[in-house]
């Protein structure tokens, strides 16, 4: 039991060490450092040695002492294997080792005599590995997007792995891609269009959606049940089955190629989900409050504005943010309905850049950062509301 646990422990922890070091090496390689091998054997072996040493020394020596000694020894060996690397790379390796050995030192001999100790250790390290793996995999494309926008085409052709940003250059040449994207490619106009469409969609959707959701939640009328179920069904119909009829009809009516036409479509496609989300919330508001309002002689307008709205501000905020996100990110309709650059939204403009001949990739990525940053900023800032919007709106994507 004990031997098996110890062996599992050392193997798993060495895999963990290897993956940590590999991620760090990949990041270093992308700073233009020449690292030609991940050296699996070496790191795996040293991982096993470190874990054994840590287990058998843990009760004899001070914990801090072991952590520092083991890390330093490892980094020194690493230095002899990959010499002539910049100092920050070794500092990073050292910090990773500190973290790793610190995690190891939590396990002493006692841990290995429990039931299921191998499993517990496995799950512990799997969790750690998972957290690091997921963050890396998620963030890496975003990182790539950001750093590419600060490079130039020639530099990327010379060494496609060197994403280091030269901070010594002046600000104008550092942000050159962004300046060009906004001046030559007219992204200011597209940003304005995107904002108009998204904010307009939010406003109209709320103006139409709140009364309708109130009626569905509270009032009795013929067709109510039909309405509330059809909301969900309509919501599940994808844009791609609407696009051909809408394209033909909008062409004949001359509504294509206008921001206004897009606004109508976005409103119609987001209304069902807005109503669905809002009516669920309205139902949770106590009815007595409205009855008191009726006693005071309020009509439905008064009830909605004076009673329902103030009580459901958080729900309205999450619907608004969710609708904003859908409208801001929407692609298919903007592709089909916008032909002339003056009416482009950001998404459409970036696609146009990509299709258009040989746009340097740093401009493409600068454009992508421009369209991504606002929505990520909103997400981080209003996370609570947007997450609740994502969960109750749930099915769209």
């Amino acid at each position: 039991m004990r031997v098996k646990s110890i062996i599992t422990f050392s193997i798993i922890s060495s895999f963990f060490l290897f993956s940590l070091i590999s991620i760090w090496k990949i990041l270093s390689t992308l700073q233009g450092i020449e690292l030609k091998t991940l050296n699996f054997n070496f790191y795996f072996l040293s991982g096993i040695i470190i874990s054994f040493v840590s287990i058998f020394l843990s009760q004899k020596l001070n914990k801090l002492f072991i952590v520092i000694i083991l890390s330093s020894v490892f980094v020194l060996i690493d230095y002899f294997i990959n010499s002539s690397l910049p100092i920050w790379h070794y500092i990073g390796t050292f910090l990773i080792l500190l973290f790793f050995v610190n995690k190891l030192s939590k396990y002493n001999k006692k841990h290995f005599s429990y039931n299921f100790s191998a499993q517990i250790i496995f799950f512990d390290f799997l969790t750690l590995f998972g957290i690091i793996f997921f963050s890396f995999v998620i963030l890496f494309p975003f990182y790539l997007m950001l750093v590419t926008s600060f490079k130039t085409q020639t530099l990327l052709l010379i060494n496609p792995l060197d994403f280091s940003i030269d901070f010594t250059q002046n600000i104008k040449s550092l942000f050159k891609s962004y300046i060009i994207v906004f001046t030559e490619y007219n992204f200011g106009k597209y940003m304005l269009n995107s904002s108009i469409v998204s904010i307009g969609t939010v406003i109209i959707t709320l103006l139409l959606g709140i009364p309708a959701a109130y009626a569905v939640a509270r009032l009795n009328f013929f067709g109510k049940h039909f309405l509330s179920t059809s909301i969900l069904i309509i919501y599940m119909f994808p844009a791609i089955v609407l696009v051909i009829p809408l394209y033909t009809v909008f062409s004949q009516l001359g509504l294509r190629n206008s921001v206004f036409g897009l606004l109508i479509i976005y409103t119609a496609t987001t209304l069902p989900v807005a109503i669905y989300m809002l009516q669920g919330y309205f139902k949770s508001i106590p009815k007595e409050l409205e009855e008191a309002g009726i006693m005071d002689g309020q009509n439905w307008f008064g009830i909605i504005v004076k009673i329902i709205l103030p009580l459901s501000l958080p729900a309205i905020a999450s619907v608004a943010l969710y609708v904003f996100m859908i409208a801001w990110n929407e692609f298919l309709f903007s592709l089909m309905f916008l032909d002339s650059p003056s009416s482009f939204t950001l998404s459409r403009a970036i696609q146009f850049l990509n299709v258009g001949a040989e746009t340097p990739r740093q401009y493409l990525m600068a454009g992508s950062v421009v369209v991504t940053l606002p929505i990520l900023f909103i997400f981080v800032y209003f996370e609570k509301y947007l997450v609740s919007g994502l969960t109750s709106g749930s099915v769209k994507g």
Binding site: I120, P141, F221, P238, I244, Y247, M365
Partner: protein, 419 residues
């Protein structure tokens, strides 16, 4: 009394819902029904413009005659395939001028020339000329003639509203040798995309459902791919995976893991040898599925995490007392608690992945074996320009979708009955 109250209530309800219902009806329901209509018609993209009579006005002075002017109208039928009936023409001219030898189809009444051109067949063209002279022989002012534009009106059939129907679109869809492949690709993409997203959702939720520093940071980070615009993400992935200058291939080459670059988005098959047997993996499709999983597992994560946080702690404590290990706890406590969420998630994600258009369109455009049904709608309708065919394919999508929804709502109903 109560009768009138309920009447008022009904009237209010209709007033409140009507605007929303109308706009949704016009933009969502109406297109779904007109899809049925269009799918039974032979319509090309170039036919959908309603034909209209057009006139280009050219004003020319006449040599040696100051008081005369020549006006040429280049008349034509804008459509190459349809006739226009009963065309009326009108143009306004300055005071003090009169036409010379006016065409017999036209009349000159109070400074206006009004003509009745009758019917124009398709591709019709005509050069129509009017001469004008001043009544008192003064010099004519050319600029004044250019002020007005001629006004033409005519009746034409809207090709969408004619009553000839055909089954040929559906015949073409179902007899196309690619149709089976198309369905297979769609289901492959949908199924593995959904399952992958849910598996990664479970894994990540299980991880975040533990106490560690930076937990809330990880939680918001994990949602980034779902929140960010698909255009930006797809192009970033294209750069990442590009065979020549892409970061991934260069990294793998740099570490000598591969010998030559792999075209992850442009290669249809890759051969894999397992125990001497050759397997053909659909490479581009797999890459697209991985992108799909990467982008949508956050949603599964969010749902499963919410459910996990609601699992009572006592269950795990009891399991500890019974001497259960982490694996047993996961299989016997965690999984049964989240099966309900997973089955609903599976249906929802299945339906949405089935409809997914943007992701594949932006990554591969449907090339190298990644053409799914929604991509086919776009290709038929707008790349090839056969609107009728595109509609027929989207009808196939609608029918399959209705079938999935039926299952979904049955499932939800069953869940509602159980709880």
């Amino acid at each position: 009394m109560s009768n009138t109250l309920s009447k008022i209530e009904k009237r209010t309800a209709y007033a409140l819902t009507l605007p929303a219902v109308l706009i949704v009806f016009a933009i969502v329901l109406f297109p779904i029904f007109s899809n049925v209509w269009i799918s039974f018609k032979e319509v090309q993209l170039k036919d959908i413009r309603i034909p209209e009579p057009r006139a280009k006005k050219i004003v020319k002075s006449v040599k040696n005659e100051d008081s005369k002017i020549k006006i040429i109208y280049k008349l034509r039928n804008s459509s190459l395939i349809q006739d226009i009936r009963n065309i009326k023409f009108q143009d306004k001219f300055p005071n003090n001028v009169q036409p010379v030898n006016l065409d017999e189809r036209c009349k000159f009444i109070s400074n206006k020339v009004q003509c009745d051109f009758g019917d124009w067949s398709k591709k019709y063209r005509e050069q129509f000329i009017i001469f004008f002279e001043t009544k008192n022989g003064e010099k004519i002012d050319k600029k004044k003639f250019k002020l007005n534009k001629p006004n033409l009106k005519g009746k034409a059939d809207n090709i969408l509203l004619t009553s000839d129907f055909t089954l040929s679109n559906f015949k073409k869809v179902f007899t196309n040798y690619e149709f089976k492949d198309l369905l297979l690709t769609t289901f492959y993409y949908t199924f593995f995309g959904t399952v992958g997203a849910i598996v990664f959702g479970i894994l990540s939720a299980q991880m975040v459902n533990q106490n560690f520093r930076g937990r809330s940071f990880i939680r918001s980070t994990l949602l980034f791919p779902y929140v960010a615009p698909v255009v930006a993400l797809a192009f970033t992935w294209e750069l990442l995976l590009d065979p020549n200058s892409g970061t991934l291939n260069n990294l793998l080459l740099n570490y000598n893991i591969i010998d030559k670059p792999i075209n992850l988005l442009g290669q249809k098959y890759v051969s894999i040898f397992v125990f001497g047997f050759e397997f053909k993996l659909r490479l581009a499709l797999t890459t697209v599925i991985i992108f799909e999983i990467w982008r949508y597992f956050p949603l599964a994560f969010l749902f499963i995490l919410a459910r996990l946080q609601a699992v009572p702690k006592e269950l795990y404590e009891a399991a500890d007392i019974d001497g259960a290990g982490p694996y047993t706890k996961f299989m016997n406590i965690t999984l049964p608690q989240i099966t309900a969420v997973i089955s609903i998630l599976f249906m929802i994600r299945f339906i949405w992945n089935f409809n997914k258009f943007e992701d594949i369109f932006l990554l591969t455009g449907g090339a190298s074996g990644t053409r799914t049904l929604p991509i086919n709608v776009y290709e038929q309708g707008f790349s090839i320009g056969d609107i009728g065919m595109g509609s027929a394919v989207s009808m196939v999508i609608v029918l399959l979708l209705l079938f999935f929804m039926l299952i979904y709502f049955k499932l939800i109903g069953k869940r509602a009955n159980e709880s």
